[in-house]
């Protein structure tokens, strides 16, 4: 059966354990604080460009908490986008490494100072490199999903992108390839719908009432949820992930999110008051329900802010990569073979 409906659970209890909500809240705060630190660094000249996920915490943190983390096809593969900080932090990433990537230091573990901030890569956790081209992850995801299925375990592949990106051919490629009658795949497709593509409103370009409806023609299970509520998001994600894990079939989840600081530093990276702030809304609920006091939450915010401020100072002292390192990692060596990079004609530059 194929379903598509918006779950609304604001206010009323979601049935999730308070401990879980507290943990979720802490990850969301750290994510927000990290993004705000990255934005500040860029504005202060400690980085060239910022793009990230403030406004997607309520979706991305629960995702990170639900992932089966590990290396190899028995665990989940993640093909994330440049707004996925909440997911990797919830998985256990050290926020200072994000500052390193922003500062383009040699110590940046994700790209060695080569790529923009929030372009993650964790081999040990199956988080494949985030790349700037929109939607290409949807063409690669079926490959890791084939490996998940072949491995015979419960590992699945999760791929995430934005709403405007679904106009690229890679999105339907993922729909077609994940639902091949010959080999349906354990693949969860997540569309983080913030209703924008840089400056272009989704409503002007997209005739779909729901993006998730695009899965129906393929018999793909699909749903649309309000992911500005982390409890709704957690339950929607859990339902989807459980389905994919158990049925070994694809699922398309559309999640409404906010874009709280605009598209990127190119558009100013200033707080957008009109958008729903999932963290603020969540904190109100936690306070109302007496799960956390506002004081506790404010203190947490202050502590994390202080931690990351100090971390950013440490990062400022770290060395940048050296020019000749551009020739590192073009190929992995095959024993006995001369490094082909060494065979390059090296023109003067």
């Amino acid at each position: 059966m194929t379903t598509s409906h918006v779950h609304e659970h604001h206010g009323k209890d979601s049935g999730l354990a308070p401990e879980l909500l507290v943990q979720m809240h802490a990850h969301m705060v750290m994510t927000r604080v990290l993004e705000e630190r990255l934005i500040r660094m860029q504005k202060q000249g400690d980085g060239y460009f910022w793009i990230g996920g403030p406004g997607e915490e309520a979706l991305n943190v629960p995702l990170g908490m639900l992932v089966d983390r590990g290396e190899g096809p028995m665990h989940d593969y993640l093909h994330l986008h440049y707004r996925s900080s909440g997911t990797v932090l919830a998985m256990g990433a050290d926020p200072i490494d994000s500052l390193r990537q922003m500062k383009s230091t040699a110590s940046d573990p994700y790209s060695g100072g080569r790529n923009f901030c929030n372009h993650y890569s964790f081999k040990k956790w199956n988080v494949v490199p985030v790349s700037s081209p929109i939607e290409v992850q949807f063409s690669m995801a079926p490959g890791t999903a084939i490996a998940n299925k072949r491995a015979g375990g419960r590992g699945i592949t999760i791929v995430q992108g934005g709403d405007a990106g679904t106009a690229e051919g890679d999105f339907p490629t993922c729909l077609v390839w994940s639902s091949r009658p010959e080999n349906p795949l354990p693949l969860l497709m997540i569309v983080a719908n913030n209703h924008w593509g840089i400056s272009t409103p989704a409503a002007t370009q997209h005739g779909e009432k729901r993006i998730s409806d695009r899965g129906k023609a393929f018999g793909i299970e699909c749903a649309t949820i309000d992911a500005n509520d982390p409890e709704v998001a957690y339950r929607g994600l859990k339902r989807a992930i459980d389905y994919v894990r158990n049925e070994r079939r694809p699922y398309l989840l559309e999640a409404y999110v906010s874009r709280l600081y605009g598209h990127s530093s190119s558009s100013g990276a200033n707080f957008i008051g009109e958008e729903v702030d999932c963290l603020k809304r969540f904190e109100q609920k936690l306070a109302e329900r007496g799960i956390l006091t506002q004081k506790h939450m404010d203190d947490l915010h202050t502590r994390y802010t202080q931690e990351l401020l100090e971390a950013s100072k440490r990062v400022r002292e770290e060395a940048p990569p050296r020019g000749e390192q551009i020739y590192d990692h073009v190929f992995v060596d095959v024993d006995g073979e001369r490094d082909p990079a060494a065979m390059l004609p090296k023109g003067t530059r």
């Binding site: 460009f49 060695g112 593509g197 840089i198 272009t200 020019g323 003067t348």
Partner: protein, 353 residues
């Protein structure tokens, strides 16, 4: 003193008003933004497309097939690599239909490094573009040329690709590089055609009475005359090479700098004349150095001018690595820099056969 981005915008305006441009479109090309570099803000025929480069190129081909005159944009050339088949198709449309269907379309896209664009906002496109038979390729190095080449591109009945060196888009015109008819006072020009920050829904540009300027496609420009060495470059490298040449002049080495401006067709006559005089030539571009358009120019040079050469021709180009890294050191090690160019110019000038 207009900037290159203003020059492009004014050329597109002239295209709409006097040359029959019907559609200027691409991602974020229409209101409210008017282009990620403001290159299309305030124009009449702009519209936003879905985030789909294949759709953009395809729609431009379809519009041109139907006798419209589209100018489509790929937001960064880094994102054109999933459309090469369609670009080839466009270049082949006239030829494969034995002359029935020409495509009066322009594709514009920002290229090159220099804005800390990291792996996906630093690509060059000249090597790929010159491998597309049926396309004309232009690449300006200053506002005036951007204006005059865009007008010629729009007038041309064939597919023309307009490669805009993104690092130059916001530079001001130097004397002699102004757009004819545009106010030379930059504040005044900005007030007339630059959109205000914030809400622009009510703002309308006040276009200056700019004049026609059709810089012939296929015509190079000698930026700096010199007797000792010929340097052939285009786009962002023109300024770098000119500064390098000025530096060497203090050592008594006179370098001739030629701005190719059109990559296809290119001005072989001008190159031949200059190389025949200086007997020494360096080709400079930002593109990765293997299977590089500058290598074609070297091949042509040794094919036709071998015995004119008093030194081996040189290529200075980008490193053959998978991308341009974000860190300063990485970017600088990846594309030609002034010091390396000065050094190469000195070496080739002093080279004794």
């Amino acid at each position: 003193m207009s900037t290159m981005v203003q020059a492009i915008r004014m050329a597109l305006h002239v295209g709409e008003e006097r040359l029959g441009v019907t559609d200027i479109f691409g991602e974020d090309v229409g209101p409210p933004l008017g282009g990620v570099f403001t290159q299309t803000v305030g124009l009449k025929t702009t519209w936003n497309s879905p985030l789909d480069e294949r759709g953009i190129v395809g729609a431009a081909i379809g519009l041109a097939l139907a006798g419209q005159k589209p100018v489509c944009e790929i937001q960064f050339c880094d994102y054109a690599f999933n459309t090469i088949d369609l670009l080839k198709l466009a270049g082949a449309m006239l030829w494969s239909s034995n002359g029935q269907w020409n495509l009066p379309m322009v594709l514009m896209t920002p290229v090159g490094s220099g804005i800390h664009g990291s792996i996906y906002h630093s690509h060059s496109f000249d090597a790929t573009a010159t491998r597309l038979p049926g396309w004309k390729i232009v690449m300006p190095s200053n506002p005036r040329d951007a204006y005059g080449l865009m007008l010629s591109a729009i007038k041309d009945p064939n597919p023309v690709m307009f490669l805009a060196p993104k690092a130059l888009l916001r530079q001001k015109a130097l004397p002699g590089e102004e757009v004819p008819g545009a106010p030379t006072d930059e504040r005044q020009l900005a007030k007339m055609i630059d959109a205000p920050l914030g809400d622009r829904s009510k703002w309308r540009p006040d276009w200056p009475a700019v004049e026609d300027l059709f810089i012939p496609i296929g015509q190079a420009r000698t930026v700096r005359a010199g007797r000792d060495v010929t340097v052939v470059c285009y786009g962002r490298m023109v300024q770098v090479c000119t500064k390098a040449a000025d530096e060497l002049a203090t050592e008594g080495i006179e370098v001739e700098v030629i701005d190719l401006r059109s990559l296809w067709p290119y001005d072989w006559a001008a190159l031949k004349e200059s190389i025949g005089r200086t007997h020494r030539v360096i080709f400079v571009n930002e593109e990765t150095e293997v299977t590089n358009f500058g290598e074609h120019l070297i091949r042509r040079t040794v094919e036709e001018l071998f015995y004119e050469l008093h030194a081996p021709p040189r290529l200075l180009a980008g490193a053959h690595v998978p991308g341009i890294g974000l860190a300063d050191n990485l970017e600088q090690a990846s594309v030609p820099q002034r010091d390396g160019i000065v050094k190469a110019m000195r070496e080739i000038a002093q080279h004794a056969p």
